[in-house]
């Protein structure tokens, strides 16, 4: 069993254990296993699930969650959180819509939305790193602020006039398959984030900050700069998800993607990232997001209402953290020595 999650007892991976135990007995692998299991059961048991078109709708639906879960994972590994991502999706959506309505080309409006995302993320990052405020409180404030700006700019109207080419691209499939085009940007982002997290000093720094901010600082990690960059990344990716959301539904509204942040956090926590920071892997998060998507999709096809789906999501979330906590406790009790270690006889005399 790998990294325990208590603040007092986090150690690096236990290299005494064989590789198969290190990989297979992790939370992330359990989620992947659960995903495979649920997919098989759904394909066998739910009528209409094993059609190729299901994968298409599934990916189209959870694309925003998948996209935003990537930077959110990194932020939560450092021990922070960003609750404003859903509101940023809405704000980016509104900015895109207003830009298009004002007559500027769609590409420029989209770039403007990305810039707004970067500025919003920088605002979050500034308040957390420079002013030193807790990220939970800051992002609750910016959740209201960004959503307020989005609704304030557009009111209750919706902008629905978008260039045909881009709308079609958002919903189109890769030739010959049922995989939507949005998977390509997602795959690219996923690759970038994996490299960033696991193959750069920046990524090691992220884990270090999560495990111990002060130790990381003394080891030479630029704690503030890292966090600032992560919040800006979250803002930009949220804005990108907002542009996709707008194109996919063909409508820019102030209340787009309300509540999205909770779904993203649910996917991230379910995927094995500890809320305290310091542990977690991207593949677990992606598997968890897909798991929630597959469950929701299969249940919907089986005519189960969305409230039951919400109950299941909630219970899954609670169970996942409780099991992690119970396993950590078991680990601690198992590691305790059964009899007190014998003190070596002193050779001083």
């Amino acid at each position: 069993m790998t990294t325990p999650t208590t603040t007092t007892n986090r150690v690096a991976q236990d290299f005494e254990k064989p590789l198969w135990r290190r990989v297979l007995l992790t939370r992330e692998f359990a989620i992947v296993g659960l995903l495979v299991l649920v997919t098989i059961v759904a394909a066998a048991g739910v009528r209409g699930f094993s059609q190729p078109i299901t994968l298409n709708y599934l990916l189209l639906d959870i694309a925003p969650i998948l996209l935003i879960a990537l930077p959110m994972t990194l932020i939560m590994i450092t021990g922070e959180i960003d609750l404003s991502v859903g509101s940023m999706v809405g704000l980016a959506s509104v900015v895109t819509g207003i830009g298009v309505q004002a007559g500027i080309p769609f590409e420029a409006a989209a770039l403007l939305a990305l810039l707004v995302g970067a500025i919003g993320g920088a605002f979050n990052g500034f308040l957390v790193t420079v002013v030193g405020l807790p990220s939970l409180a800051v992002t609750i404030g910016t959740l209201a602020l960004f959503r307020g700006l989005a609704v304030g700019l557009l009111g209750t109207t919706a902008i629905t006039d978008f260039p045909e080419m881009w709308s079609a691209l958002a919903k189109a499939k890769i030739a010959g398959t049922t995989i939507p085009y949005i998977s390509v940007p997602f795959a690219v982002l996923f690759a970038i984030f994996v490299v960033l997290l696991h193959f750069t000093p920046f990524g090691r720094g992220i884990y270090a900050i999560g495990l111990s901010k002060d130790a990381a600082r003394f080891s030479g990690v630029h704690v503030e700069r890292t966090k600032l960059i992560l919040f800006i990344l979250a803002g930009v990716v949220s804005a990108f998800a907002g542009i996709y959301y707008t194109l996919r539904f063909g409508s820019a509204r102030g209340d787009n993607a309300t509540g999205l942040e909770l779904q993203v956090i649910a996917a991230v926590v379910l995927g094995g990232v500890s809320v305290f920071g310091g542990r977690g892997h991207l593949y677990g998060v992606v598997a968890a997001a897909l798991l929630i998507g597959v469950l929701a999709s299969a249940l919907r096809l089986a005519n189960v209402t969305s409230d039951v789906i919400n109950i299941i999501t909630g219970v899954l979330l609670v169970l996942s953290v409780v099991t992690a906590s119970v396993l950590t406790w078991l680990q601690k009790t198992r590691r305790r020595p059964r009899r007190p270690p014998r003190v070596a006889a002193s050779t001083a005399s």
Binding site: G132, L133, G141, F146, T305, V321, S325
Partner: protein, 343 residues
């Protein structure tokens, strides 16, 4: 009515300043509230000086006050309860259904059942947080989904309508005693009781200790598990009572009742001076923060700002409040260090 800070440090001479800082915060938001009300009344005198105006000023926030007080107690212990909106919705629907399915049940019994129900839901949260040592944010996020799902499953697409509930109950919601809405009076009594408990009893003070430094509280011998459990039960029970108020005030309850109220409650507490890191703040502040939030909602259109901007204003307020908190904390620490160096 004394507003007191909880960060009283036994350093001679400095304790007065520290106490003043705490009092300053609640006083500050009270002043902000007065300014908002004054500005709105100046523009449109019926905001305050009409029968409806005065009633709405006190009535609508009463519900959020209850939820904010419960939330403040939980936040003071360095946790957070994101499920209060769903608990409130479930409790409101339960109230309606009790009146429909069990006719003749006296109103106090219905209220008690709803409050107990909310307390039981809070107990689930508290048990998971206190015993499994799981971060409260994740647990209450899960129960937010789960409880709301149960609510929708139970209610389906039906609503409880005003015609389903006894007239005396609805009269509670809209009635007044001496020109003050009944619900506001009840909310004030609950608020005063909570404030007295937090300030003057050992249990209340221990919440602050646990929030300031959980490890130290544990080592000191405080029953941390029991206190955290109680905090969540109180939060759930108050959300349950808020659900009853909601049913009495609006008369019509759908399965989406209370959705989004949890963030409003956290926002109200934060604006009212309760630090999100725990150990600081008072329920008075959270209550005034709740009244301020709801009043701004009504005052904005009168002040000429389209109410679409209301969320943005709330966001700015929350950010301003925590920046202020931070500035005060830094200043206080500097003063303490100076006092220690000078003594």
């Amino acid at each position: 009515m004394t507003f007191t800070s909880t960060t009283r440090i036994p350093v001679s001479g400095l304790s007065k300043h520290v106490g003043a800082l705490g009092r300053a915060r609640e006083f500050g938001i009270l002043v902000a509230l007065a300014v908002v009300v004054a500005a709105a009344t100046a523009k449109n005198p019926s905001f305050l000086f009409s029968a409806d105006g005065w009633r709405d000023l006190l009535l609508t926030p009463s519900i959020l006050v209850l939820v904010a007080v419960g939330q403040a107690i939980v936040i003071i212990t360095r946790n957070v309860d994101l499920s209060v909106g769903s608990v409130m919705g479930l409790s409101a629907y339960l109230t309606g259904r009790l009146f429909i399915d069990v006719p003749g049940l006296p109103i106090p019994v219905v209220v008690l059942v709803a409050v107990a129900f909310g307390g039981a839901l809070g107990l689930i949260n508290g048990a998971l947080v206190a015993f499994a040592r799981v971060p409260a944010m994740v647990i209450t996020l899960g129960t937010l989904y789960a409880y709301r799902g149960i609510n929708v499953m139970w209610a389906g697409s039906s609503r409880v309508n005003a015609s389903d509930m006894p007239k005396e109950f609805l009269a509670l919601g809209t009635g007044q005693i001496l020109w003050i809405p009944t619900l506001a009076i009840i909310a004030f009594v609950v608020l005063a009781a909570a404030a007295w408990y937090m300030r003057n009893t050992r249990g209340g003070r221990e919440y602050y200790a646990i929030g300031s430094d959980p490890a130290a509280a544990e080592l000191y011998g405080l029953k941390v598990t029991r206190r955290i459990l109680t905090a969540f039960i109180i939060s759930g029970a108050l959300a349950g009572l808020a659900g009853v108020f909601y049913a009495a005030r609006y008369g019509s309850v759908s399965s989406q009742a209370g959705a989004g109220w949890e963030l409003d409650a956290v926002g109200a507490a934060v604006i009212g001076g309760v630090a999100i890191t725990g150990g600081v703040g008072s329920v008075w502040g959270a209550a005034i923060g709740a009244i301020l939030l709801m009043t701004i909602n009504r005052a904005l259109p009168i002040l000429g700002i389209p109410d679409f901007w209301q969320r943005a204003v709330v966001g700015v307020l929350i950010i301003g409040a925590i920046v202020l908190d931070r500035w005060l904390a830094v200043r206080q620490r500097r003063q303490l260090i100076e006092a220690r160096d000078n003594s």
